[in-house]
Symmetry: C2
Subunit: 182 residues, 2 copies
């Protein structure tokens, strides 16, 4: 990718991040973004079709590497050890605690649902691929899709709760909470 392209794209993303932590996504205008990013209006539309596509591209860059590394490190292991000490979920919680890309500011803002929706799409795929490992822990005869849905939503809700409460607990404790409710 051309260095000019990269720089413009980065500038737009950076400005977008800033503004997202300040106000609702719906209130943000393209004019505001390009002013803060200091790029021309035409440049913006050369990169992104609309404001919504900007969000989409932003989220993809934000989350893809989380799941890439999660999938890589856990692909060929037994993921769901019973005590949770080596679960993908612990891995994910730790990732958020490290606060890469300042992701916590975004997940703490009023726009958190925006990102968590994208996050959850990825999470569903992960759980789908790991369902056999989870199957053994299932106690009752719930439909598979209900069970999967419950795991994914419980994780996201646990994450939301953790962040909203200032992340006072350790990733290990949170993982324990989560494994307890599912």
């Amino acid at each position: 990718m051309d260095r000019r392209q990269r720089k413009s794209r980065e500038a737009i993303f950076h400005a977008f991040t800033d503004i997202l932590s300040e106000k609702d996504f719906s209130q943000i205008t393209v004019g505001e973004v390009i002013a803060r990013a200091d790029v021309g209006r035409a440049t913006f539309y050369a990169h992104f079709e609309t404001k919504d596509f900007l969000l989409k591209a932003f989220c993809e860059e934000l989350f893809c590497h989380i799941f890439d590394t999660a999938a890589d490190t856990h692909e060929h292991r037994h993921i769901f050890s019973c005590d949770g000490s080596d679960s993908v979920f612990l891995h994910l919680f730790q990732h958020f605690q490290r606060n890469d890309n300042n992701i916590l500011a975004l997940l703490s803002s009023r726009n958190n649902e925006l990102f968590l929706r994208y996050f959850r799409n990825n999470l569903n795929l992960l759980i789908e691929s790991q369902l056999p490992n989870l199957q053994s822990r299932k106690k009752a005869n719930l439909p598979d899709s209900y069970w999967k849905n419950h795991i994914a939503s419980s994780f996201v809700e646990t994450l939301k709760w953790w962040i909203a409460n200032g992340m006072a607990e350790s990733p290990e404790t949170i993982t324990a909470y989560f494994l307890q409710v599912i």
Copy 2:
């Protein structure tokens, strides 16, 4: 309330409902609403400060009576009978199955998260008031706020799953699923 006011308000709400089932809330314009409602632009702004306030008022009317009746009928009983046959949650699921106010069309649309956010605010209050009844069912030493949050989110997610899957199960079955995971 003046009959004229009521009629305008109703017309706006009705048009709003229609459009909400067709496109994203963010894409809806005031001009579109007043055209379908057949009211003047000034009339709209006499009733609602902005599009967001319209949504707020709409949701309040939509959900308040659900929880009013739920609270009334269950206030002085033992809510959480062990088999769930007389739980508030069953009551709520049944309410959705009856599809009052065509609420299912809204909860099936792409805007469902919008309504479920409001719904959940009310649900939290309900759970808060019923926490003592739930306390006994708590198996482990999780923080209270985490426990409450888990119940509320599990209910909403169960509801979403139910609707998304065409509501094939009976309210009793869904209640059983829900009580099983919490």
